[in-house]
């Protein structure tokens, strides 16, 4: 992806430049809002990572001006403010997503990926895992010898994992995508649900693997 980062914190900026390079994205980094706005007018860009507090203008204003110019580039806000009211303001100004500091590199990558999918109307992931067929209407996994039915949330979780196959999915990202929850509910609810999904997917011919990476999240891999 072609990305633009607008962030005035040099340390965070430096880190993000590294992450995006590792992930294979092209990233331009501006420390102020005005040059970023000018650059966007003349360049193709897949998504903007935008800090809310900038030295020359606040991020909300920048997005409002961007949208007023008719540009629909997806914008992801970075902010140190976590209140719902702030997030609502961010989305109301024309932003597409909102990420609170501190955040995991994988969280940022997964969200950018989701924004890009939405913007390009990407097709959902495959309809097959190994030798198993997926039936999204009845939420069933059908193998030669067996049929497994999933609960609605289990199905959504599986879909999110499949859509980001091979990537680390942070717990917070899954909570938001699957349950629409933006806080840590304390109890290991995601762990429990992942375990349950793992057990259900232990079907012959359905060679998938959901790995837990401590401190980071989960990775979905289909062996086939």
């Amino acid at each position: 992806m072609n990305l633009l980062l607008v962030e005035d914190d040099p340390e965070l900026g430096r880190q993000m430049v590294g992450w995006m390079a590792d992930a294979g994205h092209d990233l331009r980094w501006d420390e102020k809002g005005m040059p970023a706005l000018e650059w966007l007018k003349s360049h193709e860009c897949d998504a903007v990572i935008l800090d809310v507090g900038l030295p020359d203008m606040d991020g909300f204003t920048l997005v409002e001006r961007l949208r007023a110019e008719g540009m629909s580039t997806p914008v992801l806000f970075l902010t140190a403010r976590a209140s719902v009211a702030d997030r609502v303001r961010g989305l109301a100004s024309g932003g597409d997503d909102y990420l609170t500091k501190p955040f995991a590199a994988e969280e940022l990558l997964a969200r950018l990926d989701a924004l890009h999918r939405r913007a390009t109307h990407a097709q959902p992931a495959q309809r097959k895992i190994g030798n198993c067929r997926l039936d999204p209407v009845k939420r069933r996994i059908i193998s030669e010898s067996n049929t497994v039915e999933l609960q609605p949330r289990e199905w959504t979780l599986l879909e999110v994992l499949m859509n980001h196959e091979g990537r680390i999915m942070p717990k917070q990202f899954l909570l938001e995508q699957v349950w629409d929850i933006r806080f840590d509910p304390g109890t290991n609810v995601v762990d429990a649900m992942i375990c349950r999904l793992r057990r259900k997917l232990e079907v012959p011919g359905c060679d998938i693997h959901i790995e837990t990476i401590r401190g980071k999240g989960y990775v979905f891999k289909s062996v086939a």
Binding site: L12, Q15, A80, A105, F183, P185, M193
Partner: protein, 445 residues
């Protein structure tokens, strides 16, 4: 009000009328006595003819009558109007008039006539009796005039008396009502409601300005709290983000499993610290009415069913049965995310303290226009002395200290969120064992 004024005027009229009536009767009696003696004297000097002449010459209205009868009861002379004739005049001479000049007075009421007849009798020198009657028609007319004037005066007086009442209503009651209406909106998050009453009396205006000055101060403190909260969040979260980024780099690029594990643990700690900062700031703002709420119409059933759905796998892993009792379709105007977090904290609490094999039941009911959300468990319950304490920051019940890690912010966060919604929280022990934690929320505006 009209009833009071009307009845007080009526009472006045009744009393005045009774007093005047009594005076008039006395005056009538004096007139009758005077006339009796006068006619007796004329009769003595000039006989029946003289009486006739004098009576006829007098300007007697319809209300006077004269009758002279002998000792046998024969009427010798009579002169009166038709109306007077309707009264039952006595047909025999009174027996107690023994000697010349004796008089007697009586009053005769008559069913069909509206007035009564005051009657006097005098024994004449020749033994005959002279009756003189005076109908009350004049007196009644007089009384009725007085009554009409009294009504007029009473109503005029009442109207004049209403002026201070109207003043009281417009300059005192009206502003107080306006104050009450404003005061009911004081809990609104904007905090910009003020007491306004331009027509109020000076004392009330002073009261309003004193209260408004206090409210201004509260608003400025609230805004200050909000802005320091924002600043604190920024000051704390930005360095956490920098550290987190570097730890991730360490985690991803180290070859040492030991270093990778240390980095993973540190990442978990950083996330916990960030959550903690958020909780503390939310509690601080919620307890002081400075939490910015994003209210939206929220179906209670939907919110609770989703949460139970989220916690069910974790509950089953712990050998607990988690369920929600279907209830009324209630809509609350609340900050959906914060309320979800509050109930999630209660569920987290219940999962932590309920022993294996137990159950957790989420249920709700309407109360007034609001709702009460309850999370019942089959855990050890809460010691009565700790029922208030557990909601305080950093306080944990005795059941918690030995067995579970944490620093005791969960319940204070629940309380702060409820407080920010003008609601309440509480806990009671259930009869069958276990605790029931509840959040009471008003409908919201």
């Amino acid at each position: 009000m009209g009833l009071i004024v009307g009845s007080s005027i009526a009472l006045t009229i009744f009393l005045v009328r009774a007093a005047v009536n009594q005076d008039l009767r006395r005056a009538d009696q004096a007139v009758i006595l005077d006339d009796l003696v006068g006619y007796a004297a004329i009769y003595a000097h000039t006989g029946l003819r003289g009486v006739q002449d004098v009576f006829s010459a007098g300007q007697h209205a319809d209300s006077n009558g004269l009758r002279i009868m002998d000792q046998a009861g024969h009427i010798l002379y009579e002169q009166m109007s038709e109306a007077m004739r309707d009264y039952p005049w006595p047909i025999v001479a009174p027996t107690d008039l023994h000697k010349r000049g004796d008089t007697q007075q009586s009053a005769i009421a008559f069913d069909t006539a509206p007035y009564h007849l005051s009657l006097g009798a005098i024994r004449l020198h020749d033994g005959n009796t002279l009756w003189f009657g005076l109908s009350s028609v004049e007196a009644e007319r007089y009384l009725s005039n007085i009554q009409n004037h009294l009504w007029l005066a009473g109503i005029m007086a009442a109207l004049v008396a209403m002026l201070p009442v109207l003043w009281y209503s417009y300059d005192v009651i009206h502003p107080i009502k306006a104050f009450t209406a404003s005061a009911k909106r004081l809990h609104l998050p904007e905090g910009e409601v003020r007491l306004i009453a331009p027509t109020a009396i000076p004392e009330l205006k002073t009261l309003a300005s004193v209260i408004n000055a206090g409210l201004d101060q509260i608003l400025s403190l609230t805004r200050e709290l909000q802005s320091t909260n924002d600043q604190l969040a920024h000051e704390l979260r930005t360095p956490l983000a920098r550290i987190r980024g570097n730890l991730e780099a360490l985690h991803n690029h180290t070859d040492s499993p030991l270093a990778e594990d240390a980095a993973a643990r540190s990442l978990e700690e950083i996330d916990r610290a960030a959550q903690l900062v958020q909780s503390i700031l939310t509690i601080r703002a919620g307890d002081h009415g400075a939490l910015r709420l994003h209210r939206q119409a929220t179906p209670v059933s939907d919110l609770l069913e989703k949460l139970v759905d989220l916690f069910t796998p974790a509950a089953e892993d712990r050998g607990l049965k988690l369920s929600v009792v279907p209830g009324l379709d209630l809509m609350l105007n609340v900050d959906r995310e914060l309320l979800t977090q509050a109930v999630a904290n209660l569920l987290d609490n219940a999962l932590a303290y309920t022993p294996k094999g137990g159950g957790i039941i989420v249920h709700w009911h309407g109360e007034g226009t609001g709702a009460v959300i309850c999370v019942d468990d089959t855990g050890p319950g809460v010691h009565p002395e700790e029922m208030h304490m557990i909601w305080e920051r950093y306080n944990r019940g005795s059941a918690a200290i030995s067995r579970h890690p944490g620093i005791g912010l969960g319940l204070s966060l629940v309380r702060a969120i409820a407080t920010a919604h003008s609601g309440m929280v509480g806990v009671n022990n259930r009869e069958l064992g276990g605790a029931s934690f509840w959040i009471r929320l008003p409908q919201g505006v």
